[in-house]
């Protein structure tokens, strides 16, 4: 990066299944981030809106509630990695000198997202899915999980334990969609309705609505607005699309090649000048527990085939060596789409400042946030307590 970039403010509207107008959620997340940064909207020089569903200029319309300041406003979309990609654009706007302060604001409501619509070929019934749109994402993740069981002897109990851990992390996050009123057990997760073998409904990410925002700025702005809090520096920003690997799946790419995460993380570690052993906490695209399990290994937290042991030793829960999904992850905090990657940044930033209360990771120094977008892109950022 040409100039050092810092996260100076974060804000969220809680992820929820209840009806809240998206315009209201957008405004709440934006204003909370501005308040957190201690700046006005007129200080922001660039705004990147991240959303997957929605209508033309929807984000630009909502931004008018924040103010009419004449700045560039841009729509970013990269499937589940939308919020992460909007964040990256904001980071690059500051790093590259286009602006001293930039804002990334993600919002969405999964309930309004449908299957991809395109003009059907002549004679084809519009109601019937196309060849490239016949399987559900849940199926792709489940097939990854079954293959893992075949190759490494992973059991359904491992998947249940990851989900229970994330449900329990989410219990103490006021922004989480799923906040259980009791300690969730692996047995309870296993007893839930089966969605796609071996995944039950309690292993599936929470689908809902929400908004999340992060404001990034130069070192000068960060110092000026630190307000006695530790500064949070963006030490790596990487985004990769696919390269060909054997068994490459072009059709219905949702899981994506495992290599994507390895490659993107490697570039991020190199950029930040640290390794996986230096991380204090990690956020990943845990739409289903198989993902979190695989990312233990693909992010280099442990060796190949050692993820199950890492989990069962309690290393990835809060209080363990390297807590994953400290805010509940996609499974409990939720996954509305556009804001998800920015919700990760919300938690990571507050963790590094020591502000996360019951889900605080003691002494947090480096946080890695990872998102996949429809299996076709991978985004990895590393934030550091400066």
């Amino acid at each position: 990066m040409n100039r050092d970039v810092y996260v100076i403010g974060v804000g969220m509207h809680r992820f929820t299944k209840e009806y809240v107008p998206i315009r209201d959620m957008y405004f709440t997340a934006g204003v909370e981030a501005l308040k957190d940064a201690g700046i006005d909207f007129r200080d922001v020089g660039y705004l990147y809106n991240g959303y997957i569903g929605g209508t033309m200029m929807e984000g630009t319309g909502y931004a008018k509630d924040l103010g009419l300041t004449g700045i560039p406003v841009v729509h970013v979309e990269n499937a589940s990695a939308t919020g992460s990609s909007a964040f990256r654009e904001a980071v690059w706007a500051v790093s590259g000198g286009a602006s001293d302060v930039a804002m990334a604001l993600g919002f969405d409501d999964m309930a309004r997202m449908g299957m991809a619509r395109r003009k059907p070929a002549p004679g084809v019934d519009r109601r019937v899915p196309s060849f490239e749109n016949t399987l559900l994402p849940a199926g792709f993740f489940a097939m990854w999980a079954v293959r893992r069981m075949h190759e490494a002897g992973t059991t359904v109990e491992t998947y249940a334990k990851i989900a229970a851990k994330n449900w329990n992390h989410g219990r103490h996050n006021p922004m989480a969609q799923r906040r259980a009123d009791h300690e969730v057990t692996a047995e309870e997760v296993l007893a839930a309705d089966m969605v796609a073998y071996p995944h039950t409904a309690m292993m599936a990410c929470a689908s809902g609505a929400g908004a999340a925002c992060a404001i990034v700025a130069t070192e000068e702005w960060a110092k000026k607005h630190a307000n006695g809090r530790p500064m949070v520096k963006v030490t790596a920003s990487q985004l990769c699309s696919e390269v060909y690997t054997d068994g490459h799946i072009f059709m219905g790419a949702v899981v994506g090649p495992a290599y994507s995460t390895e490659r993107t993380a490697k570039l991020a570690y190199e950029e930040a000048g640290i390794g996986p052993d230096d991380l204090s906490l990690v956020h990943v695209h845990d739409a289903f527990p198989i993902e979190e399990l695989m990312y233990y290994e693909l992010l280099g937290i442990c060796g190949p085939g050692e993820g199950d042991k890492l989990l069962h030793d309690g290393e990835t829960q809060i209080g363990g060596r390297i807590p994953f999904s400290t805010d509940g992850g996609l499974i409990a905090r939720g996954h509305p789409g556009g804001p998800t990657g920015l919700a990760q940044v919300w938690d990571a930033t507050r963790q590094l400042r020591g502000e996360q209360g019951k889900i605080q990771v003691e002494g947090a120094q480096n946080a890695l946030v990872h998102m996949m977008g429809a299996g076709s892109v991978c985004a990895v950022h590393i934030l550091q307590k400066a």
Binding site: V124, R127, V128, G139, M143, V146, V195, D246, I249, M251
Partner: protein
């Protein structure tokens, strides 16, 4: 005899005779010596031209699941309570994701699977528009 045609052009071949196997259409890159599915505009590795080829109709099950949610585009779970999905490796080195026939206990990684036409709807003139699925190859 019912006329069966692919849902969309460019993905599969359905022979008139039901004795002949259906085949998926893929791309072959001579420059990279790789096959791809579905058809590519050009080789994603070498950026050279590719040729359209028919892929083998039988492969091996790489992984599977049994889904108990409505199919894409539908709001109802199948009457059987769900359906199988699988990844099938064809001999050309191509991995296909597909609906697969059978019950959860039927599926074993490594089993042989055969491509068949999967009727999706019938037009007013009686033409059946088909996607594809794989069915387990009966041993012996």
């Amino acid at each position: 005899m019912t006329k069966r045609v692919p849902l969309e052009e460019g993905y599969m071949v359905i022979p008139e005779s039901s004795d002949e196997p259906c085949r998926l259409l893929g791309s072959y890159s001579k420059a990279a010596d790789k096959h791809y599915f579905p058809i590519r505009k050009r080789c994603p590795i070498t950026e050279k031209d590719v040729e359209t080829v028919e892929l083998s109709p039988v492969g091996e099950l790489y992984s599977w699941s049994f889904i108990r949610m409505p199919k894409m585009g539908s709001r109802k779970v199948d009457s059987g309570g769900g359906y199988g999905v699988g990844q099938i490796d064809l001999p050309e080195g191509v991995r296909i994701q597909s609906v697969i026939d059978g019950e959860q206990e039927d599926f074993k990684i490594g089993m042989k699977m055969q491509l068949v036409a999967n009727p999706m709807y019938t037009a007013e003139d009686g033409t059946q528009y088909c996607g594809f699925k794989f069915v387990p190859v009966k041993e012996g």
